[in-house]
Symmetry: C2
Subunit: 543 residues, 2 copies
């Protein structure tokens, strides 16, 4: 379907004829930036440094038409069960459907339930803020300890880091994800259990890492606050759909905040998964601004024509880079320390969604799908891996993300710098503007170690402020850009069967370790293992 | 040279004939793990899950011989000026040459200088510990604020995070790297300047980001402690070689800790760059254990025959994966929260060293060099990007790094888990053992969304404890593995001209912004810019 379309063939032939020269293209066409960018009041998206011309862009738009992209986007928003392998709708957009447009799943509008959970979270977080809800010893909560992993961690953590200046005074939000006990110990060192509210985030309440950490948190609270059921009920809440398990843990089911099977883990940051910890941390109103930002991009994605649709264009260009240029890795480079965990969140959304080899008809794909995504904040990355971006043998398309305004102005110090007039933010932005040009235009030098070939493609995203609204915009951007690629490749971006085998083998390993602990001489401990795992496990258990 | 060797051609032909089947290979050869692994008392390196057989391994060893690898390693250790483009020796190994073997550069043994700096750092950090050195108000130092970026940041940060349990009670080590003011503001919020010792780390004392943050730190100290020269002298020290600039900043030149032109930034963690902040943080004796660990791997690298030499084999296998299998991206997966910044450090060492396109003779290479390196700690990554590792269309070789012992046992809580007997560390390790097998052996399923193809290669590194010694071992491992690749590709892994152009364009951008701030109507502000940068810069400056 993807490779069979006429637009695909056209793109192949355009690729063959293409002689990339960004320098020449910019010199010859003074309107290049204007024609290869989308300006909105919230964000400029400039893709003029991609190795494309109008012909390629038009053919990509045809590819979108051939793939029925518009219809697929509408199907997603309207609640069709497009996650076919799991027979589920894909409705993270309903979580911030602020116009309350009805969204029907199985004959029922989901919006009343969505709004009810949000209202419940608002009430709960207001009660914590105002001191109506307190710890068992009567102390106000100062720490939110959010226990979750993967989709129940990376999205909320990205948002919390981005929105840190909006935190309620004196309130900390701490994430524990890794089953490695070091994570729990380090994160709880120096905080008091009687001032801590623990949120256990797990859809099924069976995620191995999360339940292990939840049990450890329970012991920590019991040891430091008390062991009565009342203590647990005051200090623990849950984001889950598994009411019985939540109750069995000792959590008041009234303090369970639910979500639905149409919210995938990596798309769940605007559900209770993010709403509960973030409302407690930055207040419900600020969390609502995240929803507004995400909703703003949702509406743009749903309503803008393809030719001026930011996630659509970004996704199509990814496909150009992956399937036609052969560039299979992308760097995400936010020029903002506050956004430092955005690359890790994008890594999850992109790689878990599109790291697939089977199409919607269950057949193996014959082309490359999801790219590897990685990144660190600028300017840190410049002093680390940018060498390879500029002069390596691989070409890595880059996303530069910048903001007009800093989170902290620090203007007082400007006069002290050696070149005496630039603020921290201005210094940062000189790099933000310089790097895409260095990649695109290079610099010829006969001494090859100092030669820069140029024609290394990048996107530039320039937003206004570094606040919750923008955090929501960029959250939705990676979600939709990822979906665009899946729609065009005709793969299911919304399941994740690839994580199952590791879990199964992990359970087997758990059984073996448990056996060993009962009886180190039990031959079943190592039975049937391959020679490598047998040696390694022995080394681990016996030495 | 690389592609012209007979071993290269042999490898090409072996690749053509190769029919990878790890399952079959393990079934057929019960000794596979034993023959494709290196066991030492400090670490097991198991590469039996690589897509190689004895023939490939032998040919890789021939490639090493053809490339004169042994000689090149010896040249590096002995102080030859192998960084030819900068006419410098490459001697990070001398920084932990604990046997004081003479190392001659320009006719002079460098070891007395190395030892003198270490002795000076020990004395200084002991004086801080014992309270002989204090802040200007008489308070003891509780915070070390290390300002540096790139090589002056990522290595020390990795080591500090890995060695956190060894920190002196009550002592914090805080890194500020990014020129984004958010980094400085967040890291200094909640700490007191009069209890803070600032280390400014910059070889030339001109690194833009570092000097900007240093000036801001100076203002912060002046505002909160006082403006007399004595205050600056008590609260600031430097790791640098630029004595005049250090003095001009107001730092006592006696409190400048030097290093040498034969220490490259990304290889500098065992120089004063790491020694100063880490000795203050974990004590000189614990820092010395890092040196011991690095030295242990140095000696192994220098003295072990190629066939049992861990960094040599790891580097050769990287070359097999990059140049013969076509796998250009590698994931580094430490199953340890304490090691969470190790992937970022490796990313720098690998990508800055080998992201090159020119060989030692100044000619363009005709093959792929440095790979993209990325990673997150296990088990976090499993719930994020492992989907692509297991089922994506790209094959990503993986490095699994695990430890027999946890940093914190947390055994009290074991009995509480639902499957009732495993500690946090045992849970973690079930995943560490399960994932390489899932990748290697897969699981056939006729329902393709649940099919795991297998034959996805990985390395397994199993170490003993999670302490400073092991931190040093793994620090040296990435350094040497990187060098092995550069030696074989015949590229210079020790320069980084690829970062220059961005700096030059950044300076130009700085000039423009400064002009604009003097006179917004100055036509020179936007003169000569391409249409994209002109629009973006205008948007940034004018809106």
């Amino acid at each position: 379907m993807f490779t069979g379309s006429s637009s695909y063939k056209k793109l192949l032939s355009l690729k063959k004829k293409l002689k990339p020269s960004l320098k020449k293209w910019f010199d010859d066409d003074k309107e290049r930036a204007a024609s290869l960018s989308v300006a909105t009041d919230r964000m400029i998206y400039d893709f003029s440094r991609q190795l494309i011309n109008d012909g390629v862009l038009n053919a990509l738009m045809e590819l979108a038409e051939d793939s029925k992209l518009k219809d697929k986007i509408k199907s997603m928003f309207s609640g069709k069960k497009i996650n076919v392998t799991e027979n589920r709708a894909v409705l993270h957009t309903a979580l911030r459907n602020l116009s309350d447009r009805p969204v029907i799943v199985d004959g029922k509008d989901v919006m009343p339930d969505v709004n009810a959970v949000l209202a419940k979270i608002k009430k709960f977080s207001d009660e914590v803020s105002s001191g109506v809800r307190r710890g068992a010893t009567g102390k106000e909560f100062k720490n939110i300890l959010a226990i979750g992993i993967g989709g129940s961690y990376l999205g909320p953590e990205y948002l919390a880091e981005a929105c840190k200046p909006y935190a309620k005074p004196g309130m900390n939000l701490i994430f524990v994800a890794n089953v490695d006990g070091t994570d729990f110990v380090r994160k709880t060192r120096g905080i008091y259990a009687d001032e801590t509210l623990v949120i256990v985030i797990s859809k099924t309440f069976t995620t191995a890492e999360t339940m292990k950490n939840a049990e450890t948190a329970k012991q920590w609270v019991i040891k430091n606050v008390g062991s009565s059921p009342e203590v647990i009920r005051k200090h623990f809440i849950a984001v889950s759909t598994a009411k019985e398990k939540v109750e069995a843990f000792g959590i008041d089911p009234d303090n369970m905040f639910g979500f639905w099977d149409w919210v995938g883990g990596r798309f769940s940051a605007t559900s209770a998964v993010g709403a509960a910890p973030l409302s407690l941390y930055i207040g419900f109103d600020n969390f609502h601004k995240i929803l507004e930002g995400a909703n703003w991009l949702d509406e743009h994605f749903l309503n803008q024509p393809l030719e001026s649709n930011i996630p659509v264009i970004a996704g199509l260009i990814d496909i150009w880079n992956i399937n036609f240029m052969g560039y299979n890795t992308r760097a995400i480079l936010p020029y903002s320390q506050a956004w430092h965990r955005y690359p890790a969140h994008c890594q999850q959304v992109e790689m878990e969604s599109n790291g697939k080899s089977v199409d919607m008809d269950g057949k193996p794909v014959k082309f490359d799908t999801g790219e590897v995504v990685f990144g660190e904040p600028g300017t840190n990355g410049q002093h680390s891996f940018y060498q390879l971006l500029h002069q390596g043998t691989q070409v890595i398309p880059c996303d530069f993300i910048g903001f007009k305004k800093p989170q902290y102005a620090l203007t007082d110090n400007a006069r002290l710098t050696t070149d005496n007039s630039l603020s921290h933010h201005e210094e940062l932005m000189t790099n933000f503007f310089a790097q895409p040009d260095a990649l695109a235009f290079g610099k010829a030098d006969k001494y090859l170690p100092k030669n820069f070939p140029g024609d290394r493609p990048s996107n530039v995203f320039l937003l206004n402020e570094q606040g919750p609204f923008e955090a929501g915009v960029l959250l939705a951007l990676v979600e939709h850009r990822t979906a665009v690629k899946g729609f065009i490749w005709n793969i299911n971006s919304f399941d994740q069967f690839g994580v199952e085998l590791g879990k199964v083998l992990g359970v087997d390993m758990r059984r073996r370790i448990a056996l060993y602990k009962k009886d180190p001489s039990d031959p079943k401990v190592f039975e049937g293992l391959n020679s490598s795992t047998a040696v390694l496990l022995k080394k681990f258990l016996k030495d």
